[in-house]
């Protein structure tokens, strides 16, 4: 099926609509797009018209090219209207607005789950704008291909995975910045289908929850993590590992007992394991959060707050809940080197964490520039593709042993050499 899909997609036209009133450069843009694999099928002049069309019988386009200020409203209202749609198009902004307004539009898109296709300033420079359309088109084709392959798993398929060892912990290493040593791993859930195909977490975690299989899957992740740790520790390699657990599971006392039984059975000190609290609606109930997190600490596990700064986690929770680690979400890290507000957020989180005696982990560090920025901000540890992708347990064990004293060698070490570790 895939070998048929690929050539078809290569020539496929992506659909775009425009909402570019009083924009004199619209015509050259539309002509340029038509020569690059786009079909600009409709053009509108008011918010009212486009909203009507989007809610009509027509299939929405892949991309909507719009100004931010409109004669009868603005793009903010448009984004809100898009959020309610099935197959909402992505949005490309063309504006002469100040940067903070454009950033707010991006943020609103993210909040509503609407994709941003790109931005261009007025007057329009095609050389800057067109590569963004090309990139969107390339990613869009891949997205379609992927979504053709990733049909949602059915309940019986999920059951099969859980019954037959199809739930696998992939390990992503975490590096302490002061020593460049690997001090831990985060276990991330992947599925291996009967055909050997890798199944992404987005197709697993929520469906497992809906099918009532998340507890079993989480315990399997936990078992694999415990086995991995025992293997390392028995070899004299001191590393910890964290497992993601939704708060709804921790509130089940029986589940917590099962975790304790598992570490006791093999004689593992629970402090090698960190339970990462993933945010769900339960996080909005402070009493419930305190009860359940305190229980985890009582049993001797460490506790980490994932994606700090998003959704429900708050400064006040940090002071009330016995966390040992704070993880800063990758969205704050991505492109941080050139974004002053992200730098401010990450620095504030790092300062807060260190004053509370917590480890502060920057997630999703992918390149040198981001590494330098998180060092500058004062984070204590990093995780991300710069060190390694999540890898299967046997590979992680071999990788760890291949390092010189668990120390990760960054290729160009100029940045770290200039930085004096605070030991």
């Amino acid at each position: 099926m895939n070998d048929i899909a690929a050539p078809f997609l290569a020539t496929e036209l992506l659909q775009a609509w425009t909402l570019l009133p009083e924009f004199t450069e619209a015509q050259p843009l539309i002509e340029a797009l038509c020569g690059r694999g786009w079909a600009v099928s409709r053009s509108f002049n008011t918010l009212g018209e486009i909203v009507e069309a989007l809610h009509g019988t027509e299939t929405p386009p892949d991309l909507l090219i719009t100004r931010i200020r409109l004669p009868d409203g603005d793009a903010f209202e448009l984004i809100r209207r898009l959020a309610g749609l099935r197959n909402a198009p992505a949005v490309f902004f063309i504006s002469r607005q100040q940067r903070s307004v454009v950033k707010a539009a991006d943020a609103l898109c993210e909040a509503h789950g609407v994709r941003v296709g790109g931005h261009a300033d007025m007057p329009l420079r095609l050389t800057a704008a067109l590569p963004q359309f090309d990139a969107f088109r390339a990613a869009g084709c891949q997205r379609r291909q992927r979504s053709q392959r990733s049909v949602p798993l059915q309940a019986d398929e999920l059951q099969y995975l859980v019954d037959n060892g199809g739930i696998r912990a992939f390990m992503q290493p975490k590096m302490r910045l002061s020593s460049r040593r690997i001090t831990g791993f985060e276990a991330l859930m992947r599925g291996i289908g009967p055909d050997g195909r890798l199944i992404a977490p987005i197709l697993l975690i929520e469906p497992l929850g809906n099918a009532g299989l998340l507890m079993r899957a989480t315990l399997q992740m936990f078992d694999q993590t415990v086995a991995f740790l025992m293997d390392c520790l028995n070899d004299g390699i001191a590393v910890g590992a964290s497992v993601n657990v939704p708060l709804s599971l921790i509130s089940d006392y029986g589940f917590c007992r099962k975790l304790v039984e598992r570490v006791e059975k093999v004689g593992l000190d629970p402090s090698w394991i960190t339970i990462e609290i993933t945010e769900d609606e339960a996080m909005s109930n402070p009493a419930l959060v305190i009860e359940n997190t305190a229980r985890i600490r009582m049993f001797g596990f460490n506790l980490s707050i994932d994606d700090f700064g998003t959704a429900y986690s708050s400064f006040s929770q940090l002071t009330k809940i016995p966390f040992s680690e704070l993880k800063i979400e990758r969205a704050f890290i991505r492109g941080m080197e050139s974004d002053k507000s992200k730098q401010a957020v990450v620095s504030a989180c790092a300062l807060l964490g260190s004053r509370l005696g917590l480890e502060v982990v920057a997630e999703g560090v992918e390149n040198r520039a981001e590494l330098n920025a998180v060092i500058e901000a004062g984070c204590s540890d990093i995780q991300g593709f710069l060190i390694s992708r999540p890898i299967p347990v046997p590979e992680a064990a071999a990788w760890l042993r291949s390092l010189d004293g668990e120390r990760f060698a960054l290729v160009e070490d100029a940045a770290l050499q200039s930085w004096v570790p605070n030991l």
Partner: protein
């Protein structure tokens, strides 16, 4: 290994009722050029300390029989080992108890889990020349 080398090598006593922890700590100390003796209780630690000299004592605070604080007090008073470096290690979140723990006669506190860098810093403090 000749006998003078053995004499030069500093010796630590590891007291922990968890075998995995004893083992990994012992292996890390060996990587740092130290030798170690490992026991699983405070009472056995007292026995060891009566029979030979150690450069460092690593003591888990939470043990089933006699806990770390009690063990430490007895080492300081009954055995009179005033100069021995005794380090408590304990779970995260005990920072508020630091004062009470140090009052039991500990020189330092480490938070579990203990990594190689923690031991490296500690060993450099106890025996800077190794």
């Amino acid at each position: 290994m000749d006998s003078s080398a053995v004499k030069e090598q500093p010796l630590a006593l590891i007291v922990d009722d968890n075998a995995v922890n004893r083992n990994v700590t012992g292996q890390m100390l060996r990587r740092l050029g130290w030798a170690s003796v490992q026991v699983e209780s405070g009472l056995l630690a007292l026995e060891q300390l009566k029979s030979r000299a150690f450069d460092l004592l690593l003591l888990d605070l939470r043990m089933q029989e006699m806990d770390g604080e009690e063990t430490c007090r007895r080492i300081r008073t009954e055995l009179g080992l005033k100069d021995l470096t005794i380090v408590a290690y304990t779970a995260h979140g005990m920072e508020d108890d630091r004062e009470r723990i140090l009052a039991a006669g500990f020189d330092r506190m480490l938070i579990k889990p203990i990594f190689l860098d923690d031991l490296r810093t500690l060993c450099a403090y106890v025996r800077p020349t190794v």
